[in-house]
Structure formats: C-alpha cells, structure tokens
C-alpha cells in the first residue's frame, strides 16, 4: 500500500474515531467523554489554523494563543453584554454563536494582520520572539483589564446558542465543533492544493528562489498568517463556549507552546496532524493526569522521542514521509 493511500486511510480512521467515540459515549450516557472529544475537536481547529502558518508557510509562531484568547474574549464579552442587556461600543451583546464566530474571526484576523505585518519582516529566532512578545502583550493587557474580570477571568453564564441545536447538551455542542473541524480541514486541504498553497510552500523552501520566479514572499506569508490567526480565533470563541469561561490563561505562552506541541506530535504540515496531535495531548492529560500530577514529564519524554526519532509525528510514523516535506 503506498503512503498516500495509507495517509487517507489513517485520516478517515481518525475522523471516524473522533465521531464514533463520543457517539458511543452519548448512547452510554458518558457526558465527560463527549466533552473530551469536543475539546480535542476545538484544539484541533486551533492547530489547523497554526498549521497553515507553521506547516505550510514555515512560520514558527510562538504566539498563536493570542488569537485563541482574542476569539475567546469576543465570545465572552458578547455573552456578558447579552446577559446584562448592556451594549459594547454601541453594539448590543449576543448569545448566538454564528455572529460571535464572525466577529471573533474578523477581530483576530485584524490582530494577526498587525502582528504579521510587523513580525514577518524578521525570520528565524526573531520571528519566534516577536510573536511571543505580541502574545505576552495580549496576556498582560487582559490581566489588567478589570472591566472583563482581569485576572479572575470572565465566566459565560449561559452557553451561546447555535440555530437548531441545544448547545447546553454536550452531544449537540460536539456536533457543532466536529462540523466546524471538518470545514476547516477541508479549507486546509483546498488551500494546500491551490496555487496559493504551492506558492506558500515554495516560499518556505526558499524565499529568494520563489521571488526570482515572481512570488512575493511577504504578501503571501501575510495572507497565510492572517488566515491562520482567523481560524485559531474561531477556535478560541468555541473554546470559551465549551468551558463557559475565558481568562488571560488562554493567551499564556504555555498555550502557544501547546499548539506547537500538538502539531509536532501529529505531524507538521499534514492535513490530520492537528487532529492526531490534539487527541494525543488530551489523551495524555486524561490518562496520565489521572495517574500522576507530573504527567507533563511523560508528555515531554514523548515529545523528545518524536522530535528525535519520528519527525513526521504520528501521521509520519504511520503513513511515511510527507509528500510535501
């Protein structure tokens, strides 16, 4: 069996398992497992966003928690004002997920545009540090912003709603997250197959060579970075709804690291890398977290093993080297 077919089979298996396990849990009345699957789906959406910048474009953003947090705060603030019946900047709050997602994506896209326009003038270690610096600015800004809870965070009393579904029920919220995950994965696949994706990968391999044949590295990378931030921002809004709580911790640098870890564990630049990575991370947290408080030590060892011996992550281990390395 060739690697391409193996990868498709593995992808189908992952997509199937992520649906089948919570389906079983729903029928067996195990809401905790459904919530775990929802968390995996939402983390995977965030990582799909990062995978556009990191996997396709080679931009190691160490500040993607910023967009996760921006999306989260958009959801939290909208719900807060909807609950109080007050307005924010002349606009009423809302408890509808669809407009919240729209605003979350626009705002995180704008923030990513500003951060990207400044950071993409650098590369390598400086790019990593400058994206981290921007995320830390967001972190400390929310920390010292008393209007929306400051360091105590902002609770969402009633989960925001999705038309036709009761999002208070774990299974129906899972369906929303799973649906959005499939859409973002399809978007990623289309992007990678398109001329834009080829140009982005060409820039990652050699920006000067790409420029010599007519590809503007800065413009393409900026568009990819903004798209990446928008998808991660969408995941942030959903994450806030899942936990019904948003706090500066969502923008902490450890969260940025977690997103990178997810991609490395799953497979950098691979379509289902984020799904595999998110499942591994959440799985570790639950199973080893139940055994020992120091589960991150074991995660660290696994990460070390992946980086040293299986650079393609789980997908690379099973389906061989990436077709587009």
């Amino acid at each position: 069996m060739d690697n391409l077919r193996k990868e498709w089979l593995l992808n189908a298996l992952l997509a199937g398992a992520l649906f089948a396990v919570p389906l079983w849990a729903w029928m067996a009345n195990e809401p905790f497992i459904i919530t775990l699957a929802t968390r995996i789906a939402i983390l995977a959406i965030a990582a799909v966003g990062l995978n556009i910048a990191l996997g396709l474009g080679g931009m190691v953003s160490f500040g993607h928690a910023l967009y996760l947090g921006v999306g989260g705060y958009v959801a939290g603030i909208a719900a807060y004002h909807a609950f109080n019946g007050t307005t924010v900047m002349g606009l009423p709050g809302t408890n509808q997920m669809l407009p919240i997602w729209g605003v979350a994506m626009v705002v995180s896209g704008l923030v990513a545009g500003i951060v990207g326009a400044l950071s993409l003038r650098t590369s390598g270690i400086f790019f990593i540090m400058i994206t981290l610096a921007f995320a830390q600015m967001g972190f400390f800004f929310t920390l010292s912003w008393p209007a929306y809870g400051g360091e105590d965070g902002l609770p969402i009393f009633m989960r925001n709603q999705f038309p036709g579904l009761n999002t208070a029920r774990p299974w129906e919220l899972f369906l929303v997250a799973y649906g959005v995950l499939l859409v973002t994965l399809a978007l990623f696949a289309m992007l990678r197959a398109a001329r834009f994706g080829a140009a982005l990968m060409a820039i990652r391999q050699n920006p000067d060579r790409a420029a010599a044949i007519g590809i503007s590295p800065f413009g393409i990378k900026l568009v990819a970075f903004v798209l990446s931030g928008m998808i991660t921002g969408l995941a942030g809004a959903m994450m806030a709804d899942l936990t019904r709580f948003v706090s500066p911790a969502m923008m902490a640098w450890t969260m940025s690291g977690e997103l990178i870890v997810i991609i490395i564990l799953g497979g950098v630049g691979r379509l289902f890398g984020p799904v595999a990575g998110a499942a591994i991370l959440v799985g570790f947290e639950v199973f080893f977290g139940g055994l020992t408080e120091h589960w991150k030590l074991w995660l660290g060892l696994v990460l070390l093993a992946v980086v040293l011996f299986a650079r393609g992550g789980l997908i690379g281990l099973i389906a061989g080297r990436a077709q587009n390395g």
Binding site: R195, M201, A202, R209, A210, I213, G214, I215, Q323, G325
Partner: protein
Amino acid sequence: MTPLLDLENLHVFYGASQALFGVSLQVREGQAVALMGRNGMGKSTTIATACRMLPLRTGAVRFAGRDISAAPSFRAARLGIGLVPEGRRCFPNLTVTENLIASARPGPWDLARVQGFFPRLAERTHQLAATLSGGEQQMLAIGRALMTNPRLLVLDEATEGLAPVIRQEIWAAITKLKADGLSILLVDKTLSEILPFADHCVILERGAVAWQGQPEALSADIATTYLGV
C-alpha cells in the same frame, strides 16, 4: 522601437569587489540574444542584475519601457522576465505540478500546454522534484518559467551537465519557443550550439562587453581571444 530588455551601463558590486564595469546590452522583441564569455566574466551577474536579484550602483535596467532598476525580483518576474536559473533550482520537496503552479500567471501557457510541451512532466505530475533526473528538472525549470507567461525567457546555462541526448531535447525545445516568437536571453558555453540559434551575441570579458554582433561575424579569432576555444 524600444528594446524589450535594456541594460544600460551596469556597475554592480559584490560587497567591495566590483563585478560589472558598465555592461550595456539590449534584447529586442522576438530576438534571441546569447551572452557568452569565460567563467567569472560576469554572465551570471548580468542575468541576476537583470532579474533584480542584485542591486546596481549605477546604470539602469529597463524592461518593456519601464525602469525597474530599484524593483524587487518578484516584480521583475511578474512584469514578464521568466528566469530559468543556473543549476535549475526547482523546489525539491514540491511535486512537479506544485512547482509549476506555484508561480503561474494567467496567459496562453497553462498546465496542459506545458505538459504537452514536455510530455515527461505530464508523466510525473505527483513526483517530488527532488526525485527527477537532471534533464527532467531542467524541463521543470523551463516549464515553471513558461507558466509565468513571460515576455522574455532568461536561460542561465540551461544545458550544463546534461547528457548529450537530453541537451538536444532542451535545445529543440528552446528553438521551438524562439520560433513561436518568444524573446530569449541565454547564457551558454557551447559555441556550436549557440551560433545557429542566436540572432545576436554579446561577449563579456572582465565585467565589460568585449564584443557584440551577429553570430556570423564571430570569427575564430574572436572566439579564441575571448572564449578560449
């Protein structure tokens, strides 16, 4: 008539050392110009300057009547300078198709036409460029440049290091492109292959134009003096 590519009095430096001392040359619409000279005489530097990959101290690069002396390289490529770089320089970890579409711009040359022009590329659409033979990579590099729908094709040592059969294939392809009316600027060393092809020859010697004229006028004397053959 304004020439398509007009290099005027180029002075180019690598750091402190000067590589070009006032090179001027023109390529007219539909013309095939050969840039010749021994190693280290400034051929590739002239190409890199024309493609805006090197800054120039004085002089001007004009393309289709526009001054692009200060333009970045991607702008020059988009205006219609299609570069086939020395050593091919494909993207090794992209597939053949991805290499072709990455820099594609709308025009008569599309994927189907390039695949028709180089049937070997059509057989290897999903293969990584790194796994192609040298000749196939050369075809890919030319195909990639054609996909940008250039007005001027710039070939830097397009047949270097290839097997004789493949060289012939590449020359046949370039000759076909010239017959279609594409303007070409090429660097090459093999006199016997250049002379029947080029409309105009320019010989560089120590970063300056030493001789230029029609290929028929290139006497054995001149060839010995400047090309060492």
